[in-house]
């Protein structure tokens, strides 16, 4: 299999980047997308050229470190996949692929396809936790939780924090990411104590980091590798309104 790659190369956040063309041949359909980039980097190394920098780690879809926008779609054409799970069998022999970083003001480019997503860490720092220190916990079974509620909390908690939702959103909103954490913790009895402060602090942090507002296009949920639901965004808005209006009255 043969592919033409147009890869975004950029020295650092201060310099301008551009798409650079590369040709690869003798590729296998069973190769993963990142293994294809490994192959390219090996070829560049032999020539003494600097490799393409890209983020990746677990290569099994759970760590959330891999990114990339492939032909305009975050994590590639399959939808609900991570880039590391995308294989070349999703493309046709002779295809041309444009490979770009996740683009958002809150994700400055570090080099080439690597971006800085620490803004997402700071949203969690604002309140995405339960303040229970080691040693404080009561016996685990003293808090029964309805099976469906635990399952639903899990659905939100499954977010891998990759940022594909941000890269896909025309407003660069991190609403899906933010609401997944708000939802995970607000659904569980252990998380209810801090639910009001949490949602307000996290939403404020989200806005201060420069992420845009959610206009409910639903594009984020179409690419989310963990299939976090738009319903979480609705729940977050409910939690926010509850915290800022209803309860005050």
């Amino acid at each position: 299999m043969k592919l033409t790659l147009k890869i975004w190369r950029q020295e650092n956040a201060k310099t301008k980047g551009k798409l650079v063309n590369y040709e690869l041949s003798n590729l296998s359909l069973d190769m993963s997308f990142l293994e294809m980039l490994d192959t390219l980097n090996e070829q560049l190394a032999v020539k003494g050229e600097r490799g393409v920098e890209f983020d990746h780690d677990c290569r099994e879809g759970i760590c959330g470190q891999c990114s990339l926008v492939i032909n305009g779609q975050a994590h590639g054409p399959e939808g609900h996949y991570t880039t590391c799970q995308t294989h070349l069998r999703s493309f046709k022999d002779g295809d041309t692929l444009a490979i770009e970083p996740f683009r958002a003001n809150s994700f400055p480019v570090i080099r080439d396809l690597k971006v800085d997503r620490s803004s997402m860490d700071r949203i969690i720092q604002a309140g995405g936790y339960i303040s229970s220190f080691t040693g404080m916990a009561p016996e685990a079974n003293s808090i029964p939780i309805h099976h469906e509620i635990a399952e639903s909390a899990f659905d939100s908690a499954a977010c891998i924090g990759c940022g594909a939702c941000v890269a896909t959103c025309k407003n660069s909103s991190a609403a899906l990411f933010l609401s997944a954490k708000v939802g995970h913790l607000a659904k569980l009895p252990q998380g209810k104590v801090e639910r009001m402060e949490r949602v307000v602090w996290m939403v404020n942090a989200h806005d201060e980091e420069g992420f845009g507002s959610c206009t409910h296009t639903g594009a984020c949920a179409m690419v989310c590798p963990q299939e976090v639901q738009l319903l979480d965004i609705a729940r977050m808005n409910y939690e926010y309104n509850r915290a800022t209006c209803l309860v005050k009255e």
Binding site: S32, L34, E35, K114, D121, A153
Partner: protein, 637 residues
């Protein structure tokens, strides 16, 4: 230096409580005068960082990922063990301790194992309080499943993403401490050396992977939660950037390395499909609760698996090990798969896999139940292979997974370098020669959250009057220079062989001779090959670019340089142990049935290797004493 494991006095069940009752602690007002560096932001390092910050110490945590939430603990799937006995199936701390000691083939330290089982109970409480959405029964209480090597159900799980959920809870606890200013995090930083002043670990040299800058950081103590080095095999279940470098560089500064050759080869990973492959994705052991493993009885079987009737299938685990069946421990399951594949019964285009079949379970429980239990694993399998495992069996194969060996630590998790502690997979003591499933998340979490914070105070109590440690010393200067020199040396090679290709070749040597099955002749060959490869690396590795800014090839090269040395020590260790135990299977020492043959008279010890120079190591032996159990032949039949 002689090894003193500092095991507390008293009966096994009282040791930890006795220790806690008498150990020195630091008063809250003094904790804020003490700095601790934690390396690694996963379950062990992150748990330690968060817990120490909660106690009031000033903590800096370093990790190479862009966020601690991506540490490789995230990838653990099946669950975490705890002796809660919620199932009323006869479980208790002693039984869990015994299962773990037996699972480790009587090559682990009794007191450590007992403590891990004892503290497991608190860990589940802790994780539930942090908001981990564990699986629940319809009455709202916590649910359990069973794992390999045990006869009870003590595994707590959050679907097939238990590691992710425990890690996120730990990460969130860390983020809370970042917010309140007790914890400072350094993402995209790699540790290239530790700094020793007056015989004590007092800091680290780190490379900022974004800018390439070499940084000095000082502290009163250093904690390594640096994980395992199974990526040495290149193809493994580990993350691409997991590495052994921090441990190795500490080893070269005086930390003994224990049982380095004991690597767990996990029986249920995806098989290799070609030379390009970079990773063997794990399929959780929990699948063996409901999946049955088999190969065709006929070597030349051409039929699709679904068309092969039961009488033509060899359910070899059920046949060989009727008591435990598909839930035998990992070392046993991997070796049994290798035996079938070596005999020519492997399946798939490269004949390098066996079937893991859910047909019986789906007939019995329905597809919905299987989906709820393992849905994400089936989805993951389909994404990688394009095969729907509800309709046809998975193809699985053994892959390098977990390092039972690691830095030698005493009961306080203190290495042989004063002031350097090791937690989680980075240390060695709890799993012996084979780790049981769902004990990895457990050990990492209890080490970080419950054990280290209580033992490190005994060391830090001497430092309350020391004052801040300066980085402006000759020792920091020297360590920084050595690191810079190595970076420069790597960049000056300018060869033509890509780093990954050398790593793949190393992996092949190691997987062939120092993995599931080992013999003297093969390992002597391996040592020579490793040396040749090391020479080739330093003469001909292709490392383009410079040291300013991100350079993945340079990072990989630094790690591979260390792997090429670790590989030799692993082989030396495996050669020196002339017995079979757990994952260490020496072909020369086996029973007539092909099971591991231990030699308790001569090898009832943990090997702790001391670095001498570029050519040699000195072996120290920590004798293993069993007071409460009698080592027996480990049988799962």
């Amino acid at each position: 230096m002689s090894l003193n494991a500092k095991i507390p006095v008293g009966p096994l069940k009282d040791k930890w409580q006795n220790y806690l009752a008498k150990t020195r602690i630091v008063n809250p007002a003094n904790r804020k005068k003490l700095d601790v560096i934690v390396v690694g932001g996963g379950l062990s390092g992150g748990g330690a960082a968060a817990s120490l910050a909660e106690l009031g110490y000033n903590v800096k945590v370093f990790f190479f990922q862009d966020s601690a939430r991506r540490s490789h603990s995230v990838a653990a799937q099946g669950g975490v063990n705890a002796a809660k006995n919620y199932k009323n199936d006869g479980d208790n701390v002693y039984r869990m301790f015994y299962d773990t000691i037996k699972g480790g083939d009587f090559r682990s330290r009794e007191a450590n194992v007992y403590r891990m089982a004892e503290v497991s109970v608190d860990l589940i409480d802790h994780m539930v309080a942090q908001g981990v959405p564990f699986g629940r029964e319809y009455g709202g209480y916590l649910s359990n499943r069973s794992f390999g090597g045990v006869l009870v159900s003590r595994t707590f799980y959050a679907r097939g993403q238990t590691g992710q959920q425990l890690l996120l809870a730990t990460y969130q606890a860390m983020m809370k401490q970042v917010k309140v200013g007790k914890l400072k995090q350094y993402s995209r930083h790699e540790i290239l050396d530790i700094v020793i002043i007056d015989g004590k670990a007092r800091g680290i040299i780190a490379r900022n992977l974004d800018t390439g800058e070499i940084e000095r950081h000082a502290a009163h103590a250093v904690v390594f939660g640096t994980g395992g080095f199974g990526k040495i095999f290149y193809l493994s279940t580990l993350a691409m950037n997991s590495n052994g470098s921090a441990n190795w560089r500490a080893h070269k500064k005086g930390a003994y390395f224990a049982n380095p050759s004991w690597t767990q080869i996990h029986p249920t990973a995806l098989p290799q499909s070609g030379e390009h492959q970079s990773k063997l994705t794990l399929m959780s052991e929990s699948l063996r609760n409901d999946g049955r493993i088999w190969v065709p009885k006929n070597k030349d079987e051409k039929r699709a698996p679904g068309d092969i009737p039961d009488e033509d299938r060899d359910y070899y685990l059920e046949r060989r090990y009727p008591a435990f069946g598909n839930l035998v421990p990992r070392d046993v399951a991997s070796r049994a798969a290798k035996e079938r594949m070596d005999a020519g019964y492997g399946v798939g285009p490269l004949k390098n896999a066996v079937y893991l079949d859910f047909k019986t379970a789906i007939e019995r429980l329905g597809e919905d139940t299987i989906k709820e239990r393992y849905g994400n694993l089936f989805t993951m399998y389909e994404k990688i292979t394009a095969i729907n495992a509800y309709k046809e069996p998975m193809k699985i194969s053994p892959a390098a997974h977990f390092s039972m060996g690691g830095l030698w630590v005493d009961y306080e998790l203190h290495t042989t370098i004063p002031g350097l502690f090791a937690v989680g997979e980075a240390n060695f003591a709890d799993h012996g020669a084979n780790r049981l499933g769902a004990n990895s998340l457990l050990q990492a979490s209890v080490d970080g959250n419950f054990i280290l914070p209580n033992t490190i105070s005994n060391y830090l109590a001497d430092d309350i009057r020391t004052g801040p440690i300066s980085t402006d010393t000759a020792e920091f200067e020297e360590a920084e220079k050595a690191v810079k020199d190595q970076v420069e040396k790597l960049l000056s090679i300018k060869g033509t062989m890509p780093v990954d290709q050398i790593h793949r070749r190393l992996g092949k040597i190691m997987f062939k001779e120092v993995a599931m099955s080992r013999n003297e002749k093969g390992m002597l060959w391996a040592i020579e090959e490793i040396k040749k490869l090391r020479k080739e690396f330093w003469e001909n590795a292709a490392i383009p670019g410079d040291e300013k800014g991100p350079n993945s090839e340079l990072e990989k090269a630094g790690r591979l340089a260390d792997y090429l040395e670790i590989a030799e020590l692993m082989t030396v260790d495996a050669l020196s142990r002339k017995e079979s135990c757990g994952a260490h299977f020496r072909e020369e020492y086996q029973t007539k049935e092909g099971e591991a043959l231990r030699d308790d008279k001569n090898y009832m010890y943990s090997s702790a290797w001391e670095w001498q120079d570029e050519k040699d190591w000195k072996l120290h032996k920590e004798a293993l004493e069993f007071t409460e159990v009698t080592p027996t032949v480990r049988s799962y039949k």
